[in-house]
Symmetry: C2
Subunit: 512 residues, 2 copies
């Protein structure tokens, strides 16, 4: 048995926890119990499911002071940030309770029997059902919002899927404590045993993806780990969907007019956004495109001076800091110009870095290091000399989670750049920074490969629930044998499409 | 250059067509032209897109007599069936025009800027956009409805994606003629050049999946070919979604009461369903579970005598007939009991086969031949001795596209069997046969692995359009710079969710 240890990145001090790493047998057992709980869980009323999510939110809040202190010790993230993140995480659980009660996520669609140009059609009724037990990988950078009690767990439970969560090794004590809070919430509403498990250890991750009881996986983390697990999910004897949110370099473009109008202000904002959470956001703006010449130079000078004022950061782990140091060296090795080269630090300590290359060097096929994400307070600035130069560079950058545009009112470059952004990213931001991903009905947190493994999916917002459902059509099934969601009288008062017309309530008029 | 040939399966006579197999360069060129057309196509109004689909339907109908004659020569399918299939195919194109005009497929979701427990949230607007150029593989068994002008093509064009179609070698002349009709429709409405291409030849299929200009693939066909292409799509340097509809063995269960009440009638129906299109339906009922004992025996006797009355069939190709002969031999080699063993035939000729095994033999791990689909007028009957025996066998069978249940009114076994069916298949049918897949809002044609590669997707019905779209969220973008689908005044009159409330029309009341 291997004891799980936790490390304080600010001090480097390690301590043993009263937790053992999970064996393959432990993981198999947890996933089996999750699969066994799936049927009971799926059949509980939607109102019960919403109550489960709300009870979990309350239990997280009740233990808030303890959870924030633990997370602060394990991540070195500021207390205020962690308090806000915990509020967001509780909000997210309640938001998914609203999504469950809204009921539109079931996609209820009913076609009564009738004639068609193809001949008679039988009564057909379609709704989405939970996939079954789901595996979730907590990420390092948001110990609450994208970890054990985060969006993947909340959306999977909202869909009616039991979850087995792999704790991130960067915050095992926080993982255990948040898990305990979720379990207290589940017990309060007498949830089926097995709908929630937590496993620890590197090999547990592989065992989780391999388990025949797991029907889908949600992952937030590095491209390397994500792709290895994605491949694993695809090479099982029964492949399963793997929803990986792998991060991206997130282009940010400043037009000529915007740089002229308020370059210094934008530059200061860029420095703040790229160093938020010590640059460890998957939406960190990593590629900064500014016009060559005075206005762009002034903007870049503002980024640089702001960065220099920010001093050193404590990264989440010394491993991430090491990776940062290697990434910065790889960029320096391409002979990129150095604008800010903070002290490389040691252990988990590091300082921000800002490099500059022109479009031609940026696009050169071998210079991959310039275009890949560096999960750290590091950005690469690229002065463009023409619209064509800018367009070519944006197209050479990999597709991303976000694309940010700074432009002026009636900016002649805004229309084509917004269009280009929509082709290359899942979220397009006008005069704003990409860090900060609101939980809402209309959020999209997922973009084209390689930023995520499924551009059609999101890991934040109401549509995150879609990943854990599949449709089933019932043909000519008598009303009394149909699931309540599909019965003619609409006992659950679900919004539904009937005979082609969408109705938002059972009494409401059909759309014509 | 290799000339494409066509074979009449009824006579074995081959003839050369005035078509050459596509080279890898041809495929690359077609996909490049498709990708170049994507932006123009995506930006045309939805009403224009609906007009395109309707013009294509009209052109297919105008050339109907010729198309049916060609398809009859190439597939040996009966004329009346082909006439019905062409009607269905034109209906399907018009149905997707309705889906486009309905607009709900865009999933328009708007959250105005406001406060939240997480702090202020910016204006966020989400809509789905076309993925880009799509590769489509025509299938052998439906030369219209699941081939060049079929559901994959119709749904991809409805989504706003240009298509490059790989013709099935079993009906190249029909493929070319239906393609020509679609092109006439496209020209009538002055569609962008490149939104529709057709390629021929085995290597063209691999080149299509490999092309960097292709963003997703739709496939209907065999498990072997489908999995090879699926793997190819996953091992590209930029992997793309591969929607494979691979067929399945489609369990059909008759309860004790139903067998007692009307075993002979059900048996006659089974024989008809399993031989429809010479058993070459992906929804053919291939696994028949009947109660052991007199009632079940009577039912099986009715299947057998009906099959014997049907005589020989002409399969779509001699290759499919060879595969059928090998499949029947593999089942016979397991010492399954033979109930009907029609003449094995030669060339494309073959006759129906009915085998019987008990539950224990059916479930034995090595007897995979008993559980896999045989794409032919062949079924395996399994007499069950108890509910447990039946449940175990259904769980041992692979998940499927369909699950059919024959039961009586107030049948005590109906509830648990319908529930089991919903766990194992994408469509659950009560007192009906699985062959026949209606095009409608609520159809689901897709089930858990290995019946399809994505249980969340369907290749028939309105939701088939979902495969070719991805969401983009616009944050704080000024109204005049938003795509029309997301503008505040709702100029396209789309149904949309605004601030959490679903509205089916711009004037309609919000759901509370």
């Amino acid at each position: 048995m291997t004891t799980v240890t936790t490390t304080n990145p600010a001090t480097g001090v390690q301590r043993d926890l009263e937790i053992q790493e999970s064996t393959d047998a432990d993981v198999l057992d947890a996933t089996r119990r999750a699969a066994n709980a799936a049927e009971d869980f799926a059949q509980r009323p939607l109102s019960w499911r919403a109550g489960l999510l709300r009870a979990m939110a309350e239990e997280l809040e009740s233990d808030g002071a303890n959870l924030v202190a633990l997370a602060h010790e394990e991540t070195a993230l500021p207390l205020a940030r962690l308090e806000g993140e915990l509020r967001r995480t509780a909000f997210q659980l309640r938001f998914f309770a609203d999504v469950v009660l809204d009921g539109a996520f079931l996609h209820v669609t009913i076609d009564h029997a009738g004639d068609s140009p193809m001949g008679p059609l039988p009564d057909l009724r379609r709704a989405r059902v939970p996939l079954g037990a789901v595996g979730i990988f907590g990420s390092s950078n948001f110990p609450f919002a994208f970890s054990v009690p985060g969006g993947d767990t909340a959306s999977a439970l909202a869909a009616g899927c039991p979850v087995v969560i792999k704790a991130h090794p960067a915050h095992p004590a926080t993982s255990q404590a948040t898990f305990d809070a979720l379990v207290r919430g589940a017990r309060r509403v007498e949830a089926p045993e097995g709908i929630l498990s937590l496993v620890f250890g590197f090999t547990a991750g592989a065992a989780l993806v391999d388990s025949p009881h797991i029907t889908a996986v949600g992952f937030t983390g590095s491209v390397g780990a994500g792709l290895a697990l994605w491949e694993r999910a695809n090479t099982r004897s029964v492949p399963i969907p793997f929803y990986g949110e792998l991060g991206s370099a997130n282009p940010l473009v400043v037009t000529v007019s915007a740089a002229q109008q308020r370059g210094a202000e934008i530059g200061t904002g860029i420095a703040g956004s790229m160093t938020l959470g010590a640059g460890q956001f998957c939406t960190k703006p990593g590629l900064i495109f500014v016009p060559a010449g005075d206005a762009g130079d002034e903007l870049v000078a503002a980024v640089a001076s702001s960065l220099e004022g920010l001093g050193e950061f404590t990264m989440l782990t010394s491993g991430i800091a090491d990776h940062f140091r290697r990434g910065a060296e790889a960029i320096a090795a391409t002979n990129a110009d150095v604008l800010v080269r903070g002290d490389e630090g040691e252990g988990a300590r590091a300082a921000s870095q800002l490099f500059e290359v022109d479009g031609e060097r940026f696009r050169s096929p071998g210079a991959y290091a310039l275009r890949e994400e560096c999960f750290a307070p590091l950005a690469l600035e690229n002065p463009y000399v023409s619209s064509q130069d800018l367009r070519d560079s944006v197209l050479a950058a990999e597709p991303a989670l976000t694309f940010s545009l700074f432009a002026t009112d009636d900016d002649p470059d805004a229309p084509w750049l917004l269009e280009l952004g929509a082709q290359r990213a899942g979220r397009v931001i006008h005069n704003g920074f990409p860090t900060g991903v609101g939980v809402s009905w209309s959020m999209q947190h997922g973009g084209p490969w390689p930023s995520t493994t499924n551009a059609g999916a999101t890991s934040v917002g109401a549509a995150a629930i879609d990943r854990w459902l599949r449709p089933v059509t019932f043909q000519s099934v008598p009303d009394s044998l149909l699931p309540p969601s599909l019965q003619e009288s609409n006992p659950l008062q679900l919004p539904r499409r009937v005979d082609g017309a969408w109705r938002t309530s059972p009494e409401g008029p059909a759309r014509t």
